[in-house]
């Protein structure tokens, strides 16, 4: 069978297979590289003396006689590499971003797919998607210079560079992703659903909320998960606007230091081969695993929901 294909087709097919393979190989190589650089945290006695896994996750005393606490102070007489402040900071900022982004993005998607006239949709959809084209350094700059003081005044916060302000800038980066995916999901719901609902006497709002949204739910959920992954990995906005203080606090008025911004700020000038260097790669591995698991879990959940909703397979 295969031999009956023309040569040109087989060449193209081979090329496409190779392209797919390159992506997979690159992914594996990246993981192997950062994994190799992170491994000394587990294996090298010299590195473990300063930064063992226990030290990354358990509280450490900042000095003789002082109570143990979680802190990220890599340049110190006793270097401290607790990852908790970074974890908490990353999650805190991501949650704030999602609180702002999800209602906005889902609301906009519901509006354009169910309620807006076509001409308006033609304007709104490309404009929101254009948000994704804004470089994150521009959003970061905007948050650092323009919105920080306004947000501080509005919420009455101690810090100009706080989590709420950064979360809003992150939300701007997340909205286009959540919007695009959820809009596609809502539009993919068969028109027959809507016609049936209207025919049974439901109002357009009842149709949208009780019929279209539940049918598109797996897609909407996937949109949120993708947005979450984007927010966790985002570096530039966070690096510029978060204040980068490694504070162990859930208060959204406090500054924070994220995992990704820590790597970005410190990897450039850290001494190669030092415990600090290997810990930064360890953070890279954790970020990698983190986003991978979130996407994987999201997909599994979506799959199960889809089965339930469509009653098929």
């Amino acid at each position: 069978m295969k031999s009956s294909k023309p040569v040109s087709e087989r060449v193209i097919e081979g090329f496409i297979h190779a392209s797919a393979a390159v992506a997979i190989v690159a992914l594996v190589m990246i993981f192997v590289f950062i994994g190799k650089e992170a491994l000394p945290v587990l294996t090298s006695p010299a590195v473990r003396k300063e930064a063992s896994v226990a030290k990354l996750f358990l509280p450490q005393s900042p000095g003789a006689g002082q109570p143990a606490k979680f802190s990220w102070q890599p340049v110190s007489k006793v270097p401290k590499y607790s990852l908790w402040p970074l974890f908490v900071g990353t999650i805190k900022a991501t949650l704030v971003a999602m609180i702002f982004a999800i209602p906005l993005a889902l609301g906009a998607a519901l509006f354009t797919s169910e309620f807006s006239p076509d001409w308006l949709k033609e304007i709104v959809k490309p404009v929101i998607e254009l948000l994704a084209a804004i470089p994150s350094v521009v959003l970061g700059f905007l948050a650092l210079i323009v919105t920080a003081s306004a947000v501080q005044r509005y919420f009455g916060l101690d810090f100009r560079l706080n989590t709420i302000n950064t979360g809003i800038a992150l939300a701007l980066a997340v909205v286009p992703i959540v919007y695009t995916v959820s809009e596609d999901a809502l539009s993919a719901v068969p028109t027959a659903f809507r016609q049936g609902s209207i025919a049974l006497g439901a109002t357009p709002w009842q149709t949208a909320w009780r019929v279209v949204v539940p049918a598109a739910f797996p897609g909407l959920f996937a949109a949120c998960v993708l947005g979450f992954g984007r927010a966790i990995g985002e570096t530039m906005i966070v690096l510029m606007a978060s204040g980068n203080a490694a504070v162990l606090s859930w208060n959204p008025g406090d500054p924070f230091r994220s995992l990704s911004a820590t790597v970005a700020a410190e990897l450039g000038e850290v001494v190669k081969g030092s415990p600090h260097y290997h810990v930064l790669f360890f953070i890279g591995v954790l970020l990698f695993i983190f986003t991978f698991l979130i996407n994987f879990a999201g997909q599994q959940f979506v799959g199960r929901l889809k089965e339930k909703l469509t009653g098929a397979r």
Binding site: Q73, V247, A265, V270
Partner: protein
């Protein structure tokens, strides 16, 4: 970023001009501008000599000197004994230390802050997080917002050693890239306090006077106070060479300490060293 671009351009150009002798200067980011000015002025007067300047931080420069990959290491802190020992082992002789300029680390406050002077002890308790409100040091009753540098900066290390006596910075210290970032942030934050090289001047900030201890008056990081040692938060900037400088490097170092070389220091916003005294 433009500084980097400018530098790489200089390096790019200098690789083509490598007619005569090349001197490499590597190290402290604080000193990059100063090194560059020295290089430009010296090269203008000495055709045939090419000086390549790179930053990367004092630690980077010292590593390069240990590895023998730079002629001159610029450092904003003195070398540690173990670094000297490493050079002695690798190069057969200890490095030669030459103080080439002085720098005062200024304390910046927002122009609206009623506080004008702080003691070293107060600075320490503010930056370690022991005191969290301005009222503790005679200011308004509001939270102190600390602006610090990233932990790979020479200024960060200097401040930590000299002001914090090697204690850790407060976890709530916000870190910003570069003195310009710190100054900018303090100018926008009425509760802000930051530190950085003394050559930065921006609207909306003021430089805080510092009391060395209770027996002495508060002084500003002005030239006479830094040269006399009355200003407590000042430091020497060094050139290190290993082995002992000779040939073109020796000439360059001698010129740096000469009247012409020290005039460049003043133009770059730093303070001259009196010859031969650290």
């Amino acid at each position: 970023m433009f500084k980097r671009l400018h530098l790489s351009f200089l390096i790019f150009v200098s690789t083509f001009l490598r007619a005569g002798e090349t001197i490499t200067v590597k190290g402290s980011d604080t000193m990059v501008i100063l090194n560059q000015r020295w290089a430009e002025t010296y090269m203008a007067g000495h055709p045939g000599i090419v000086i390549q300047v790179t930053g990367g931080g004092s630690g980077t420069g010292i590593s390069a000197l240990i590895a023998g990959s730079t002629d001159v290491c610029a450092a904003s802190r003195p070398m540690k004994p173990e670094e000297v020992e490493q050079i002695r082992r690798k190069q057969g002789a200890p490095p030669v230390e030459t103080p080439v300029a002085k720098d005062g680390v200024a304390i910046y406050l927002n122009a609206s802050n009623p506080v004008n002077a702080l003691s070293m002890g107060q600075l320490r308790s503010l930056f370690t997080g022991a005191a969290v409100r301005w009222s503790v040091v005679g200011g308004e009753d509001r939270r102190v917002v600390l602006y610090s540098r990233e932990n790979n900066s020479g200024t960060y290390v200097f401040f930590k050693e000299h002001v914090l006596k090697n204690d850790d910075f407060s976890d709530y210290a916000l870190t910003l890239p570069g003195t310009a970032g710190v100054v900018n942030a303090v100018s926008r934050d009425p509760a802000g306090i930051g530190y950085g090289g003394s050559s930065s001047k921006t609207a909306g900030i003021k430089v805080c006077a510092v009391r060395p201890d209770d027996a002495h008056p508060a002084v500003l990081p002005a030239e006479e106070n830094i040269l006399s040692g009355a200003y407590p938060v000042s430091r020497d900037l060094y050139y290190y060479t290993a082995p002992a400088p000779k040939g073109a490097v020796k000439d360059f170092l001698a010129w740096v300490l000469s009247g012409d070389g020290q005039a460049v220091v003043v133009r770059a916003g730093y303070f001259p060293v009196k010859k031969k005294t650290p």
